[in-house]
């Protein structure tokens, strides 16, 4: 019985890699568009030419179009996970297989994460099976306060993973930045100011090599940051650090800032909202894991949203709380709305934190993470409420192309469905 299942699995894997975008409609489904609105029952999603052409109730399916009955199913845009490490590692603790840290590199701001993306990574496959269709990836800062430039990728089972390279630069201030810069936040800010100064000098042809601490390549890379052409993601946690970062706009008015993590964001939510700077946050970290996170609470995201801050859930990476757990975290934000004195999100808001909002913050608003005309045909059909821990995708489309959902894990599952070795060893079950 095992053989039959396995054959079916490999067949699916084989044909999917050569599949093309298909026009299709999902009907009678509960559709959540990802824009923050509540899910719509008995709704339809139409995808043509790799793009969404309609989503909602009262949508007519064009004659002759292939139709998937979505009865009992939920349909959402694919999950968009910002600031992860998909495609950059195979085994976290096996350093040869892990490209997510550049501790001994001679470069920093110039590092371009798009150059190392392995589209065939198991973790891309596992995340795809979890309904994740897009992500931005970046290195972890290790030997410089600048982690380098992040890329946008799709999780399709094809060789074209990189959607856009160099979509942001990341800098780490706060405790992590302080450690890297020489032991104090003061040094991290000095390092930052010097880097931008050198970037400006390179831009204007005034670089004095012997007076430069930054390599030319790194300084060149930061040019786009000071011009505001490339977003600058700033990782900080503490309320006072958040305010210091917002103050950077006074010195560098063109910086296009995104705040990252901000465990104590709720304490200065009003100021963040007033600045218009969006946030990529941890969903529910609530421990004083460091002295810059003393105020951490699961209500952080809800309170920031209430104050008018645009907040995405991000940073889910690795094999523990990887991108595929994003719906669980979003669901937890919904659960908070039932708790006295806690601040949670509505269901629609919660879904938006892992779909449309991260796409918007990443520069792909209206294109990814949302089901509306003109958006990419990134469509996930779920066997139940997608934010519920018991639910899972049953079909995943990226740019209208149906994706295989198999991976190393599903193959192991089928091999060990039973432990029978009476005829042959397990090695022949494939």
């Amino acid at each position: 019985m095992m053989k039959r299942t396995l054959l079916a699995a490999s067949a699916a894997l084989a044909f999917a890699s050569s599949a093309a975008a298909q026009d299709m409609a999902v009907t009678n489904a509960t559709v959540a568009t990802g824009d923050g609105s509540a899910p719509i029952e008995n709704a339809t999603v139409v995808v043509r030419g790799g793009q969404v052409v309609a989503a909602g109730s009262g949508v007519t399916v064009p004659a002759g179009m292939q139709t998937i009955d979505g009865s009992g199913r939920w349909v959402t845009p694919g999950i968009f996970m910002p600031l992860t490490d998909l495609g950059l590692w195979d085994v976290g603790a096996v350093s040869n297989s892990n490209d997510s840290r550049a501790g001994d590199a001679r470069f920093n701001a110039a590092l371009d994460a798009s150059t190392a993306v392995n589209y065939a990574s198991q973790h891309i496959a596992v995340s795809r099976g979890g309904g994740v269709t897009r992500a931005t990836i970046a290195l972890s800062p290790s030997d410089s306060i600048f982690a380098g430039q992040g890329a946008a990728i799709d999780l399709g089972a094809d060789a074209n993973a990189v959607v856009a390279p160099k979509v942001f630069q990341m800098v780490v201030l706060g405790e992590a930045g302080a450690r890297i810069a020489g032991g104090t936040r003061v040094a991290a800010f000095a390092e930052f100011a010097n880097a931008l100064r050198e970037a400006r000098e390179v831009q204007s042809g005034r670089r004095v090599a012997e007076d430069s601490m930054l390599g030319r390549t790194d300084a060149e890379a930061l040019g786009a940051v000071i011009d505001g052409q490339q977003k600058l993601y700033v990782h900080v946690e503490r309320a006072s650090d958040i305010l210091s970062v917002l103050d950077l706009k006074k010195t560098y008015p063109r910086l296009d800032l995104v705040l990252v993590s901000v465990s104590e964001g709720w304490m200065v939510a009003r100021q963040i909202a007033a600045s218009g700077v969006p946030v990529i946050a941890d969903a529910i970290d609530n421990l004083p894991s460091s002295f810059e996170q003393l105020g951490a609470t699961q209500s952080n995201v809800g309170r920031m949203v209430d104050a008018g801050v645009k907040v995405a859930i991000g940073g889910l990476s690795g094999g523990i709380t990887g991108p595929r757990t994003a719906p669980q975290f979003a669901g937890n934000l919904v659960s908070l709305s039932k708790l006295p004195r806690a601040s949670g999100l509505t269901w629609g808001e919660a879904l938006a934190t892992i779909t449309s909002i991260p796409a918007e913050i990443s520069g792909f608003g209206g294109k990814y993470g949302v089901l509306k005309p003109g958006a990419a045909g990134d469509v996930v059909i779920w066997d139940g409420d997608p934010l519920e821990v018991s639910s899972a995708p049953v079909r995943v489309f990226i740019d209208g192309v149906e994706q295989p959902l198999d991976n190393h894990q599903t193959r192991l599952r089928e091999r060990y469905r039973d432990l029978d070795e009476s005829q042959l060893p397990k090695a022949y079950d494939w």
Binding site: V91, S100, A239, G319, P340
Partner: protein, 462 residues
């Protein structure tokens, strides 16, 4: 943010925080060990835990999971003087003087138990000064006791109660060492001292670790073990030496050998961090050679490959729902692990090894259940609840006292505001020995550790 968590993976989780293993489902009573020596000698640092006052309480109208696989719709749970005194349907009489709590639309479970935690020995804030989980100066440290590292003021304890409904937990030494030391089994109650948290009459656990961590930590220093075969050689020699000690008069105090003798006597339960199936099989044979039993393999991501062996040897698997890939020996982790084990008839425990994961063991169990269902293995909700209650209690040797809602057991009870296997549910009230120690509706029934006083967010909903 998470890139920091990744670092932790390479470092702390892979080494420091990481798990241990314990064995044993059917556990011998701890009392036999105590009989061999005077109380203060055999059981120093005794528990000073006393239950807090509680009112006789009747929970009525809720869906009740009893922790041992049973479910009652519209059930009634009675507790008084710290003990469960009745569980049944709506027809169960409520004695006079009981506070009646309407649980209509809500759910009741036994207090949740985490068999694998480092709260207290890797507390928050996770600064080096607090890094007390691994005595990583020798691969063999059976003489150390986790209770001497536990900081009762770790704010993580309160989060585990408020969000996870945790009422009992085992604090294990880390996994840097082959033999990491004794565990501490605690009631999740705020206390000035660790003795005030120690679970009364709980047997000690003993942490061992297979695989990558010990060989990396010590091999990296140019000393044994640097290989898996080295791991076994060092372990086996230690057991042989321990047997000599155990078979002797035991008069000369030797803290390391006393612990090992306690394991050989069956009084101390082995919790063995072990990821790979082939290694678990070797450990079970090593245990037979040495004359002890493994209670539980912790982090057993490949347990599904040897469910038959684990069942035959009556060894529990304490596992995550879906962690994988963070280190080589975790590469074959699959979300169906728990379900495949359950199908094989082996003992399943869902554990956290994580100060965040301990706040949602219920959700993790639900994910593992759902993964099984998708491959055609249907496991009842009530059985899934036993993965985080009675099964954990059995593996820790405290199932005669807690882990299920049965007459005479400790009134460790959680009232959930919805189905505990749903992401949308949270504990509404948590009782430990019948004392209401968390109430989502009452800000004063929320513990605030010394560390949090006067800090941002003191007393905040967390």
């Amino acid at each position: 943010m998470r890139y920091r968590a990744l670092t932790v993976l390479g470092g702390a989780v892979a080494l420091a925080a990481c798990s241990t293993g314990s064995s044993g489902q059917s556990v011998q009573s701890a009392s036999s060990a105590a009989a061999t020596a005077s109380k203060s000698e055999s059981a120093p640092f005794p528990s000073t835990y006393r239950r807090y006052p509680g009112a006789p309480t009747a929970l009525v109208g809720a869906t009740v999971y009893d922790g041992k696989g049973g479910m009652i719709e519209g059930g009634t749970v009675l507790f008084a003087d710290g003990k469960v005194v009745g569980i049944g349907g709506s027809d169960l009489g409520i004695p006079a003087g009981y506070t009646r709590i309407d649980g209509t639309g809500k759910f009741v479970t036994p207090g949740i138990i985490d068999i694998h935690s480092h709260l207290g020995n890797y507390p928050s804030p996770s600064v080096q000064a607090h890094s007390d989980g691994n005595e990583a100066t020798s691969p063999m440290t059976p003489q150390v006791w986790a209770e001497h590292s536990v900081w009762p003021q770790d704010p993580g304890f309160s989060r585990a109660m408020a969000n996870g409904g945790i009422t009992s937990l085992q604090i294990l030494p880390g996994s840097a060492n082959l033999m990491g030391g004794r565990s501490a089994t605690l009631k999740n109650v705020p206390s000035r001292t660790v003795q005030g948290m120690k679970f009364p009459d709980a047997p000690y656990g003993f942490k061992m670790a297979c695989g990558e961590n010990p060989k990396r930590v010590y091999g990296g220093r140019g000393r044994m073990p640097s290989t898996r075969m080295g791991n076994f050689a060092v372990n086996r020699q230690m057991w042989l030496d321990a047997k000599v000690y155990a078979d002797g008069d035991r008069k000369k105090r030797d803290l390391a050998k006393e612990t090992l003798a306690g394991v050989l006597d069956g009084d101390i339960l082995v919790h063995n961090h072990c990821y790979r199936a082939d290694e678990m099989a070797l450990v079970m044979d090593m245990a037979k050679e040495a004359g002890y039993r493994v209670s539980t393999f912790h982090h057993a991501v490949e347990a599904y490959k040897i469910g038959d062996l684990l069942k035959e040897n009556e060894v529990c698997s304490a596992i995550w729902a879906d962690w994988y890939g963070f280190k080589m020996e975790s590469y074959d982790g699959i979300p169906e692990n728990a379900a495949l084990l359950q199908k094989e008839g082996a003992c399943v425990v869902i554990h956290s090894d994580d100060d965040m994961g301990i706040q949602r063991l219920n959700q993790e169990a639900a994910k593992a259940q759902a993964a099984g269902k998708r491959m055609g293995i249907d496991i009842s909700d009530a059985t899934v609840i036993s993965w985080i209650t009675l099964n954990a209690a059995k593996a820790m040797g405290i199932d005669d006292q807690t882990g299920s809602l049965e007459d005479g057991k400790m009134a460790d009870v959680v009232l959930w505001n919805g189905d505990p296997l749903s992401v949308y549910s949270r504990p509404e009230k948590v009782w430990v020995d019948g004392a209401l120690l968390f109430d989502a509706n009452d800000p004063k029934r929320r513990p605030v550790s010394d560390f949090e006083l006067g800090q941002p967010g003191e007393g905040d909903v967390k």
